[in-house]
Amino acid sequence: MIVNIESIQKAQPEKSYWRSASQLAGTAKFQEWAHREFPEGASELPEGASRRTLLKFMGATLALAGLTACRRPEEHILPLANGSEDLVPGKPVFYNSVFSLNGISTGVMVETHDGRPTKIEGNPLHPHSLGAASAFAQASILGLYDPDRIAQHTHDGNGVSWDSFVAAVPAAFSGDGAKLRFISQRIGSPTYLRLKAETLAKFPGAKWVEYEAVPVDSAREGARIAFGRPVLVNYDFSKAQAILALDFDFLGLDASTILNMRQWANGRRVRGREDGMNRVYAVESQYSITGAMADHRLRMRASDVMGVLQALAVRLGVLPSAGRAFPASERASKFIEVLAKDLAANKGKSLLAVGPRQPAEVHALALLVNEALGNLGTTVTLLPAPEAVGEIAAIKQLAAELHSGAVETLVALGGNPAYDAPADLKFAEAMAKAKTRIYLGEDRNETAAASNWILQGANYLETWGDGRGFDGTASIQQPMIQPLFDGKSEIEFLATILGAPATRGYALVRDTWKTQLADDKAWRKAVHDGIIAGTATAPVTAAVNKAAVTEAVGHAAGAPGDDEMELVFVPSSHAYDGRFNNNAWLLEAPDPITKITWDNVALLSQATAGKLGLRTDVSQINISDSSYEAEFISIKRNGAELKIPAIVQPGHADNSITLAMGFGRAKTGQVGEGAGFNVFPLRTSDAPAIALGAAVAKTSGSIEIASTQDHGTLTDALRTRSEIVREVTLDEFQKDPHAVQEIAHKVPEFTLYESPKYTSEYQWGMTVDLNACIGCNACLVACQSENNIATVGKEQVLHGREMHWIRLDRYYSGSVEEAELVYQPMACVHCEDAPCENVCPVAATVHGPEGLNEMVYNRCVGTRYCSNNCPYKVRRFNFFNYHDKRLGWMSLGNKAPEIASLQYNPDVTVRMRGIMEKCTYCVQRISHARIQAKTEARSIRDGEVVTACQQTCPTNAITFGNISDPNSAVSKSKALDTDYAVLQELNVKPRTTYLGKLRNPHPELV
């Protein structure tokens, strides 16, 4: 605190004391010296401080201050001088909270080390998480430590304090708010909604728009058509035997929680020949995870899904006649015929699920078919929903008001409408017409750039809040750390404009729940559990209005011509809708299907590529086995032109182009800068998801796209390695339970060196169920988070130097047109006779007594011989000091922002350059369990050691444990008939084995 010397001097009493002669003399130099706390140059930034310099200072400050900044829920900094009873230094503490995406919250459990959140896992108590967390939820922790976060409130570019904003509130928020508009992301939080209502009550003339680029309107509208009132349609995949996904990636990016994946996987877990499996049919344009997992997949333009559904409805006798055509083929008609049969045979146990991009009529008709199949109330449940205006309509109106100059104050709470609003609204331009533009958020994005008040938002890990799951299940969001900067949450912002600027988030949230969680005990339990019991809304029943649906279907837009090109805007597995654009983990996580990192590309089919004059030979596109030289195409629509590289996606529908949102941001951080291409200029309010009428042509130029894997199919000449990923049909398995193991001849075990004796009590081993793995990247991000794995950037991925310890190998089979896909998670398999060990000249990789192949980082000199000799190629080498440096000119690099290191897991060594690393089976977790067991004088229990990948797997594909205990889950899993070792013929005796994939094709479609 700088003492104001002047005011002290002014108030000096008659008799004054002096400390030096110059003080007495009152020289200017002394005055200055006294005024300054630190010597000149030490306390101010150098002239023209760059953002980087600023970050450096902030990083240093944080490193000093961050550790002591944690407190909960009191708002004081308490040094742990006396220690607190439950807090053991070095031992992580876990707190439950919620992560929200699209206004839907899922429970998370946050691991904190000495007050620093380091890792996000799913909250096992939360019904929509069950311990698992999506890649997005886990990677969101990087947002907290994002060096590019808005770290200062600014007004017209000048740094200001929160107080000066508070002082400006009365001027900006006055009267009835007729010229006041709010725009925010979708809101699920009860406190936020409460304050929103209070705000709108205080300013009755104001309007509030909720908008996100990932669509929700048509599903809501479809349900309204079908039931005559707003209801929320909820699917239960666990009860379904025959599932039809209509342009719905319910296992991937269209899922609101990981619950779908868990339910789907539970319906496919085959342990013996008596177990059955659900059967999934998918109709889609893009190749999604759901399509990859489907037993039957029909590639169709997204605009033709309606035609397929109508044909199905006719066949099921729900519609009298199909009014809509779709590109007919023998494959399609056979598919529909068998599908109809299968659905009809599974009445009440079937399910038609429609994706959010599909028009309302498709949703309505699917509900009608679901009702006819008796699925309402079983696999399809209805939840009450509030009356909601269409998001697109609302933002359209807001843009019109802005353009007309009717809006004086625009408040953007989070989100990024200047980037992701429909292009025809020219939202950024419209924003400029409002006199006061307030943006509250964490990202230095386009909307912030278009605002004159930029208020730094608090990360959800820093602030109190609450949220609701898709079925209304409420949770309290609790902070793990004092806001790293002076960030404010949306609710604190609203409290401020409501005239209570001092109210902190805690009081606001507590206030919301004062009746339901009246006593502190209940409140504390809710905070602790991360879930408020009994808040799920009860399902309602309703009947589908067949006439309304039939009428709506009749009025639906006609089918596009067979050769008309459509554009489909989908969320990106990296950036989602753009919000994770500066998240290095997500940008580097290979897309589940394409395995592309750091970019979005236009995906199209081989035939469409041929039509556009692009290279079509999938293998020729590869400039190497892992990167592509992608040619540019030009897409013109809505007066805008997008030049974007195009890549042939096996299995993609013809005449359809899939465009992933969220890239090509004009204003973003260092990570997202220059990554990908902005597809939003092509997206208009009349066609926010599926757009027709685009002019597509090949254009000049090409670009290198960094992918971690090649495009080839397994059936290429001599690449047939069917013994690597083994799949059989359920039918084959039931006829011969050893079908998976019989795919390859088992080689007798033989070794030149004597095998190590594994006599220790614990022998760790793992199984990975290929039948459950959906390749969703959750394990990859979990591993990255747990094990301090560096990201390397696009250029290094192009060089083949990505560091992920676990990779999701993706193999296609079949033709390029109708490619099937299978995933194989691959990390160090901990061979008992490990080929890496005997070649290391310095014994840096050795075998532990418990069967772990251990990597001694300190001993490694980096010959890379171990990696060369690893048949699974799971070892990763630090070609540069990835953690310490941001690679720059001449690879010399700059010091990485120190803030990033706050995320590191202190239990795991941060590796320097020049050394090898790989999966350790989360040895730090094994150690934790061992210490715990020893203190309690017992053995480690089965299930006590949970690896990071296993912990977060939404489908429970990974089992880990002690294989020397015949009753452990992993031993039982290894005893299954589908268990096999990859590359068994090498006799390296891997500890990780795989359970073969089973497909469940309909006998009539085989």
């Binding site: 190497s624 083949g800 070649v839 310095v842 011989y865 010399l892």
Partner: protein
């Protein structure tokens, strides 16, 4: 004559020279031999020599800059990746080690086999061995991620960590094999030099006399000295002989001991030794063809030497060609998918160009050496040796990079692109090699004076001399 500039009138009429001409041409006397060799050392360096060493020393400087840059940043400045953990680094290492082989072979084995024709070329070939091993030695150290640790952690020494190096690792065997080879080669070369250094000493004055005097270890040429010298030389030749076979066998274990298809083959030790001799003779020929002309010593290194060396090269080319064929046969015969794929991919995959370059250079290019006319045609021989040098570099590249780039799991397959640092480092090692070679031919008698005199005396006794 002793000037390093090429003398125009020393051009030999190549086509008219018969193959059974003697090893030493002209009318040599003991004195004239001493004169021709010593004058190279005694005359001040020519501008041409300075010009050459300026170029090679610049390349050497570039090597130092590249290695400094590598250590300052990381292995990432090379093109290596996962799965291609080794690429140009180990390719260059094996290539340089291979080049060294001619020296030892000529010195030791040909000495034991009493092949007198080795006398004119053994000194230069031995020097090349040393310089090539010095170049090779750079890579095992600098290819590691942490050379500041690797430099002593690979040595078995008592330490506070109480840990030995891993004696099962072929890389550890390399440390012993290469260092032994280097030590024995240095000793062998130096012992052979003693009488000649003394000759130079006796002719020199001032500080030169002191330096050569120091290195000639008090050689006086007494019968006793000669007796001990001959014995020591024989013993060292005996010690070196197994090294010719062992060094490259052990280098080949780096690959043969692994489980990677394309590396995991039992034919590697003989195959690598043959390849090493092949490439060593290729490089020795390349350099001697230039040197003999530049120094005007065509009468000491004659067409007969070149002819013999061509024959060795031809034989080795066939061994190498046979090894290639055998690899493919075994891969097919094994009925192992991975093995078959590795070799199928080698000649048809993305790196097929490299594999075919190797086969062209190593198997096809030497075929003309069957004809005597070609062996006597210096230009033709020179061109073939260049092919061999390139081909043998590609052989190592093919074995290392092609095998690594596509191995067991197709998901990990990738491609290797060298960076400018890879390329400049390699060129820089050539700078090191040539700088040392230029210093050698200027300051050390590059032809074994004593041995040549011995050979001449044989010729005189047999009356074979004209």
């Amino acid at each position: 004559m002793a000037d390093l500039a090429i003398k125009p009138n020393t051009q030999l009429d190549l086509l008219n020279t018969t193959i059974d001409q003697p090893l030493i041409t002209g009318e040599p006397t003991y004195h004239s031999i001493t004169e021709s060799v010593s004058r190279v050392v005694e005359n001040p360096p020519s501008k041409f020599w300075f010009g050459l060493i300026a170029v090679t020393a610049s390349l050497l400087l570039m090597l130092q800059v590249m290695l400094g840059y590598l250590v300052a940043t990381g292995i990432g400045v090379w093109g290596n990746n996962i799965p291609i953990g080794w690429a140009w680094d180990i390719t260059n290492f094996v290539w340089w080690i291979g080049i060294g082989h001619a020296g030892t072979l000529i010195s030791a084995i040909l000495f034991l086999l009493r092949q007198r024709w080795r006398t004119g070329i053994n000194r230069a070939a031995e020097a090349m061995t040393l310089f090539a091993v010095a170049c090779a030695g750079i890579y095992p150290l600098f290819h590691t991620g942490r050379p500041w640790r690797a430099i002593y952690w690979l040595l078995p020494y008592p330490n506070t960590m109480q840990i030995w190096p891993n004696f099962r690792s072929p890389l550890e065997w390399d440390v012993f094999a290469v260092s032994t080879y280097f030590t024995v080669s240095v000793l062998f070369w130096f012992v052979g030099l003693l009488p000649d250094l003394a000759t130079i000493r006796d002719r020199a004055t001032g500080w030169r006399r002191k330096i050569y005097g120091f290195f000639s270890l008090g050689w006086r040429g007494s019968a006793r000295h000669w007796k001990h010298y001959e014995l020591a030389y024989l013993v060292l030749a005996g010690l070196s002989t197994p090294l010719v076979l062992s060094v490259h066998s052990i280098v080949s274990f780096d690959f043969a001991v692994s489980i990677l298809p394309g590396w995991h083959t039992t034919i590697f030790p003989p195959y690598f030794v043959a390849g090493a001799v092949f490439s060593g003779f290729g490089m020795v020929l390349t350099l001697l063809i230039i040197t003999r002309k530049a120094l005007g010593i065509e009468h000491l290194i004659t067409l007969k030497h070149i002819d013999y060396m061509c024959k060795v090269m031809l034989a080795m080319s066939m061994v190498v060609g046979y090894s290639y064929a055998s690899e493919y046969f075994i891969a097919w015969f094994s009925v192992v998918d991975g093995e078959r794929f590795a070799f199928y991919n080698r000649i048809t995959g993305p790196y097929a160009w490299a594999a075919w370059t190797m086969i062209t250079c190593n198997v096809i290019a030497p075929i003309p050496l069957w004809w005597q006319a070609v062996r006597k045609n210096i230009t033709a021989v020179f061109i073939i040796t260049i092919f061999v040098n390139i081909g043998m570099w590609y052989e190592r590249f093919v074995i290392i990079v092609i095998s690594l780039h596509r191995d067991f799991l197709p998901s990990s397959w990738d491609y290797f692109h060298p960076t400018y640092v890879d390329i400049c480092t390699f060129i820089g090692t050539m700078g090191l090699f040539l700088t040392l070679y230029l210093l050698f031919i200027k300051y050390v008698p590059m032809i074994a004076i004593a041995e040549v005199k011995h050979a001449v005396s044989h010729d005189i006794e047999k009356g074979a001399h004209h």
